[in-house]
Symmetry: none
DNA sequence: CCCGATCCTGACGCCTTCTTGAGGACTTGA
DNA sequence: TCAAGTCCTCAAGAAGGCGTCAGGATCGGG
C-alpha cells in the first residue's frame, strides 16, 4: 500500500498565486486552499494538514497572528511566503513559529525543496499526542479541554500552559528555568516563586489532596515532574 | 543547574567570514571553527555540536559531500551558507540533508533567526535514552530518576550531581577537585570534607553495607570511583 | 467606565538540604 | 608502637527552598 500524498494547506489571497502554487504542488501533494486568515484557521482545524504554505499578506488577519494561532495547537510545519523581504519581517515570522521564509519571487524547485525539508522534519517527530490521561484527569490539547472525573476544570492561561509543558515532558523532570521560559517567556528566569504559586493553584484544581500530590510532583531544587 | 549554551560548528575557509560569524554568534552560542571539510568532519566527531553552519565553498571537499558524510551519523541541523545562489544549488543542498540554505549576503539577524529555528527543531527530537545500571541500581539521566531494586530513591540535588559525575566517568577514578568543581562549582576546591559527607549519604541510600561499598569506592588520597 | 478574572507580589511558617564541627577508626610509615 | 594523615560517622545549627494565603495591580470584555 503506497502512502497517501501529504496534504498541504495553501493560504494566499491572490488567486493567480494560488493557481501557481497549486500547479507547483499538484504532482506530489494534495492541497486545500484558503484566501483569508479566518478561512485558513478553520480549514486547518478541519483538515489537520501536514504542512501550511502561508502568504503573510492577508486581507483580514495579520499573517503572524495566523502563525501564532496555529502554533497553539499544531506542530505542522509552516512555510511562509511573502513579498516582504525585510530582515525584520523574516525574523518576526521565524521567531513567531514559522519554519521557513521564502521571499517572492522564488522558483518552484526551491519551494518544493524547502517543503520537503519541512516535511522531513515533521516526519521525524513522534506523533503529536493530542489527549493525555492520568488518573481521572484528562487533557485535550486540541480542544484546550481539561476534565477531572468527567467534570470540566477551568484553568487560567498560565495554569494551562504550565500543565501543558509538564504534560509534554510527562515523567521527566522539567527544570524551573524551562518551565519559566515556556510559560512566562525568556526573562522570567529565576522567578521560581511564580512556579510555587501556580503549581499550588494547579494542585488545588487537579489533585485530591494538594498537600500529598499524586501527579504534580516537586523535585526539590530542580523543578517539577508529572508522574504518570 | 543552568543549561549550557549550544555549541555551533562553523565551517568556512575564509578567515574574515569566520570572524564575522563568530562575532554574530558569540553572545548566544559557543563556537568551534573549521577551515576545511576534513577538519569540519573531524571536529564534528570530536565535539558533537548542536548545529553546523557550513559554507559550501571549501578548498578540499565539496560542501555537499560534507553534508552527506555528517548525515551518516548525526541528525544535528546543518545550515548552509553560500555565495552560490542558483536554485539548483539550493535544491541539491536541501535534498542532500541540509536544513536551511542562506545566500550571501545575508543579515546577522536572519542568520540567528534561522539558527534558532534549526535548534528548535532539534530540541523536539526524541532525546537519546541515557540509562546506567550497576547491580540493582538504575540511573536515568534523562528522567532524572534513580531506582534501587525497582524502588525510587530520593536524592538531594547535591547527591544527584555527585552521582552523575561519578557515572559519567564510570570505572575511572575521579579526583577530589574534579568532583568538587562539578558539584559545588569552582571555588570549592580543597573542601574534601563535603565529599566525605555526601559520599556517606549516597552510600547510605545506594549500598547494602555502607561500610563495605560495592560501587562507590574510595581511592585514598586521590578521589572516588564508581565500580561497574 | 465598570466589573470580574487573572496575575503579580510579599509575608510567614514549615521542612529539606547544606554546612560545619567534633570524635573516632583506619592506614601508612617511621 | 607511635604519629600523622586520611577517612567515616553523627549531629546540630544555618540557610534556603517550598507551600500557602491574601492584598493589590493589571488586563480584558461588556
Amino acid at each position: 500500500m503506497s502512502e497517501p500524498q501529504p496534504l498541504i494547506l495553501v493560504v494566499d489571497d491572490e488567486l493567480p498565486i494560488r493557481r501557481f502554487l497549486r500547479a507547483t504542488l499538484q504532482d506530489d501533494y494534495r492541497t486545500v486552499e484558503a484566501g483569508t486568515g479566518a478561512e485558513a484557521l478553520s480549514l486547518a482545524r478541519q483538515y489537520n494538514p501536514d504542512a501550511v504554505l502561508l502568504d503573510l499578506g492577508l486581507p483580514d488577519l495579520d499573517g503572524l497572528e495566523v502563525v501564532s494561532k496555529l502554533r497553539t495547537w499544531t506542530a505542522a510545519p509552516i512555510v511562509v511566503v511573502s513579498a516582504r523581504g525585510r530582515e525584520a519581517d523574516k525574523i518576526a515570522a521565524l521567531d513567531g513559529g514559522a519554519d521557513d521564509y521564502l521571499t517572492k519571487p522564488f522558483g518552484a524547485g526551491e519551494l518544493l525543496a524547502r517543503l520537503r525539508v519541512a516535511l522531513r522534519h515533521a516526519a521525524r517527530l513522534p506523533d503529536a499526542q493530542e489527549v493525555f490521561e492520568f488518573g481521572d484527569i484528562r487533557i485535550d490539547l486540541l480542544f484546550r479541554n481539561v476534565t477531572r472525573a468527567g467534570e470540566p476544570v477551568h484553568l487560567t492561561p498560565h495554569e494551562y500552559k504550565l500543565l501543558v509543558t509538564l504534560v509534554q515532558h510527562a515523567g521527566k523532570v522539567v527544570t524551573h528555568n524551562l518551565l519559566l521560559k515556556q510559560v512566562w517567556g525568556p526573562g522570567a528566569s529565576g522567578q521560581t516563586h511564580y512556579l510555587r504559586v501556580y503549581m499550588a493553584q494547579l494542585r488545588a484544581k487537579l489533585e485530591v489532596d494538594s498537600a500529598r500530590p499524586r501527579f504534580l510532583i516537586t523535585e526539590p531544587g530542580v523543578g517539577y515532574r508529572l508522574r504518570t
